[in-house]
């Protein structure tokens, strides 16, 4: 019986690393903008070390063996970090599968004389690397999902703040596209805050809303109407020139709604309707 598969391979570790790196570097989709070659080499070397430390000929056929946990962990780590760095699934997959090419090439040289054994071992290695590939994909997708979840959470957290900018005046700066579910959250938050603070005027600032189509306008009108039903006045501010153009071109009727171009002018309007006068303090009073 000739030498074990892993034994053979671990002797050629440096050669494998060189081959693997060559495979990776020759690939057209190499992302040297996301990771430089030094880091890539180090990451590959660490993974290879871990591979030869944990894998034996027995575990080659059982990729879910407990002794392989360090390797899986390492792979998970690589895959997760790649997901966060913004690698595509194809690039991450190529990273692992190019290792297979390197291993198989070594084997072709080692087992020149016995093609029967070569075939068996190639199949074994192939299967093993494939299972590593599956682990990579699973964790890659998991990593991406985590990114998406975090972004969604952040968005809902920052999306609907209601701030009290004066006694009896609330402002709600809207940022991002308004879809139906978000518009409802906006409306509920605003109305609840009106009840809680007893504010008579609410300013809805839409300077952060990228586009206003008839749907968004309808949501805005609904919010204004609901505010009015509650007994408060709602002013829409932050209307950019292009949004004004869109609104008129779409034939949306905003004549029942008080609209102002900036938050400052909306605040001025609010002061006027509350009969508040704000003036520069006399310098002697300090």
């Amino acid at each position: 019986m000739s030498k074990s598969i892993i034994g053979t391979l671990s002797q050629k570790k440096n050669q494998i690393l060189t081959l693997w790196m060559r495979n990776q570097l020759s690939d057209g989709g190499l992302r040297d903008d996301l990771m430089n070659n030094e880091d890539l080499r180090q990451q590959s070397a660490e993974l290879l070390d871990c591979l030869f430390d944990t894998v034996t000929d027995d575990t080659l056929t059982a990729p879910d063996a407990p002794s392989l946990a360090p390797l899986i962990d390492q792979l998970t780590h690589v895959s997760m970090s790649r997901a966060r760095q913004g690698f595509t699934p194809r690039e991450t997959g190529t990273y692992i599968f190019s290792l297979k090419d390197a291993l198989l090439e070594i084997f072709r040289h080692e087992r020149k004389e016995d093609s029967e054994q070569l075939l068996g071992e190639i199949l074994l290695i192939s299967k093993f690397i494939d299972s590593l590939g599956i682990v990579t994909f699973e964790t890659f997708i998991q990593g991406r999902e985590e990114v998406i979840m975090r972004q969604t959470d952040e968005m809902t957290e920052i999306s609907t703040p209601v701030v009290q900018i004066w006694d009896g005046i609330l402002a709600m700066p809207l940022i991002g596209t308004l879809d139906s579910s978000r518009a409802l959250v906006v409306m509920e938050n605003l109305l609840q805050e009106i009840v809680r603070t007893g504010s008579g005027i609410a300013i809805l600032d839409i300077s952060g809303v990228p586009t206003v189509d008839s749907m968004v306008a309808q949501h805005l009108i609904k919010t204004v109407n609901a505010t009015r039903l509650m007994g408060a006045e709602c002013i829409i501010s932050g209307i950019r020139p292009e949004i004004a153009q869109t609104i008129v071109h779409l034939g949306i009727d905003l004549s029942q709604v008080v609209t102002k171009s900036t938050l400052a002018s909306a605040l001025k309007h609010a002061f006027a309707s509350m009969r508040i006068e704000v003036s520069k303090a006399n310098s002697r009073s300090f």
Partner: protein, 132 residues
Amino acid sequence: MDRIPILKMGQYLLVTIQVDLYDRLALDLESDLISHITQTNARGVLIDISAVSIVDSFMGRILSNIAGMARILDAATVVVGMQPAVAITLVELGLSLTGVHTALNVERGIELLRTKTGGTIEPSDYDEPSDD
């Protein structure tokens, strides 16, 4: 049979709805209120719905009707204390209650009634000084 009490406060009528309005009750309220306006010559009606948590299109229409009829009788209508959920429901039903004045609470409602009717009282008093 239940009736919703209508209180007179100076020139204004005060209605506080403490129960969920079913259709018969709402219709009775409408006719009671309108006859009260004529009897007392009220200048304004204040309807407090802060305890109402459920509305339907019928209730919305009753409120609109009351406002419309009161306006014909030269009385302003103010609806106060609407809950956020009620406001959202009415808007989703497409009832924006145009012609009904609204205020956050009774205090502000009275204030609003004063400003709405105050402007018209003086000229009419001036025209008919012997009225009151």
